[in-house]
Symmetry: C2
Subunit: 342 residues, 2 copies
């Protein structure tokens, strides 16, 4: 059974194509009640399903939103995606998903594919790894924007689109202050050669705040900013703990929860107690943390909300005029077991 077309509906209702269209697709001009009813029932009889592709072509608006994330199976991104998806539905949009596996090339390809599908806006979550990648992505986005598309970044601004900015510096500073207030003095930051702005911001703001508060802070080298990178840093951190044996346990700040989790896993293997021998704090408060042991101190940022805000910025008619929006979100410092004094 071939699908019924709008023309079929119009024929069956004995009206013109134009009238049928007006009835079925939220036109500002509604025909008389009698016709409306005829068209409606004809459509129902035929099981008519509008063809969004044809609509998109005629209207030159697709109602599609493109969402590109590093890894959809990462709780950080899947939370953002959940919020974005929910908000999209509320706005009558559908979301096209691209999970790029942190591959800059895949990322650009995804943007290109979205552009081909004429998404109304593309939302990019997560930051790039090198300035080159940043630029390449920015170029892709700007080209897309030049052709009438819109872009929203969740994270570090890239290109000329709107941005939903997580409170990296503010959150890290507040976390440091809270830990200082809790009596911690000796800190270490998991850091490394990364040029990723998000992580640099968090690490720097944390270190500054610690020093300003009279604490001391060292650095533990980390090569890969991920769960496994945190795991690999476990041995160095264990060394740190041994160095401080007997005294106040040092407090390690991992710039993302996943790294903190990896770190703790390794520490457990090494027999280093958290928070007994070393305290650990993270950032993000990913949902996974809920049942993690020990409960991890962190900075909660509203991941779902960020997804929603990104969609709001993407569909916002105001912003269409040009001025891209920049929205900041709030945060909460949550101190849990992992930084408790024992």
């Amino acid at each position: 059974m071939p699908r019924a077309r709008l023309q079929d509906v119009a024929d069956r209702a004995g009206v013109s194509l134009a009238t049928a269209s007006r009835v079925l697709n939220g036109s500002s001009r509604q025909p008389g009640p009698a016709l409306v009813e005829r068209v409606r029932s004809a459509a129902a009889d035929l099981g008519y399903v509008v063809n969004a592709q044809a609509q998109a072509l005629a209207r030159s608006r697709t109602g599609l939103l493109g969402l590109v994330v590093h890894d959809i199976s990462d709780p950080y991104f899947s939370s953002i995606a959940a919020g974005a998806q929910a908000a999209a539905i509320e706005h009558g949009r559908l979301v096209l998903l691209a999970s790029t596996g942190r591959d800059p090339v895949a990322e650009r390809k995804a943007v290109a594919a979205f552009a081909a599908h004429r998404v109304d806006a593309v939302i990019v979550a997560g930051t790039r790894w090198t300035p080159e990648d940043d630029e390449a992505l920015a170029a892709a986005l700007d080209e897309y924007a030049a052709a009438g598309g819109r872009s929203v970044i969740v994270g570090q601004p890239v290109g000329g689109g709107s941005v939903v900015r997580p409170p990296n510096a503010e959150g890290a500073r507040a976390l440091a202050e809270a830990l200082l207030a809790a009596g911690q003095r000796r800190f270490a930051v998991l850091s490394g050669p990364s040029r990723v702005a998000t992580w640099r911001e968090r690490a720097d703001a944390f270190a500054r705040a610690v020093r300003a508060g009279g604490g001391e802070v060292s650095t533990v080298r980390i090569d890969e900013f991920s769960r496994d990178g945190g795991y690999a840093a476990g041995d160095d951190v264990a060394g740190l703990a041994r160095g401080a044996a007997g005294g106040e346990p040092p407090c390690v700040f991992a710039v993302a929860d996943v790294m903190a989790i990896g770190l703790i896993a390794r520490l457990r293997e090494l027999g280093v107690a958290v928070p007994g021998d070393v305290c650990v704090a993270g950032f993000d408060d990913i949902p996974t943390l809920r049942d993690h042991v020990p409960a991890l101190s962190t900075v909660r940022i509203p991941l779902e909300e960020m997804g929603r805000l990104a969609v709001a910025a993407a569909v916002d008619d105001q912003g269409a005029a040009g001025v891209p929006a920049a929205v900041d979100v709030g945060f909460d410092v949550v101190l849990r077991t992992s930084t408790a004094s024992v």
Copy 2:
């Protein structure tokens, strides 16, 4: 700057629309090398980006896959989504995501929206809660299929589409046998009034295998099949443990990892040791488990792979003929700390 159309490219290259189309869009008929080059460079000069909507309309194939999941922020589903997404890219498709929050109405709406967008296939992951919902969804899918669409279910078959079936009964049986082999005798299954076939299958197969192996099995009522449902069951399980104090600790089987995690969280609050006072096993081996304490015994099923298989079935040209595919996936029983004897 308005977007360049194929016509513009053709004009600039001094060829016809047809030729430009043949050059740029993998037609079986390729024009001569000279023209190809002219068209290519004209397209590059103009920054031409094909309009997938128009292509879809002309070809009556969109290259879109619709994926509907209960909750994209749930690691079970986000893993499947990751696999599906990756496979879709490999097949040159894009995936439209719908996260329904387990709302049957939202689920049907999502299928309808996908149908409107003429996705080549819709993939539904996760099972319904009541037969009515099942039927409603089946109706939506069948209607969609009647109009030429294809559907793939990951989980319990619903409607006439293909299905990727997790090894519910097989896995649960194997888990039971492994636990029996490890010396466990007294079991309890977290179960309840759910009509969800997936969970019934797992619970029943587990109980059967236990009895067949000479063990005994009781039931712990659970109202909500989720992390919080597992949490709520904690008190009853704790009672079970107290009843067995001194003897062999009972072994509780939760039909999904998330329930096991919730259960363990509550047990910890109650001071019931796992695995000391009670053993716990789950099902699925969601990625989250990697750093969970205690390490949870479970049945590993290849979540990403299931997503990939679903996409494969969706784009498979063979199946187009009619016979829907049914593919079974493998599993592994992994015994970890949570069921260790202490």
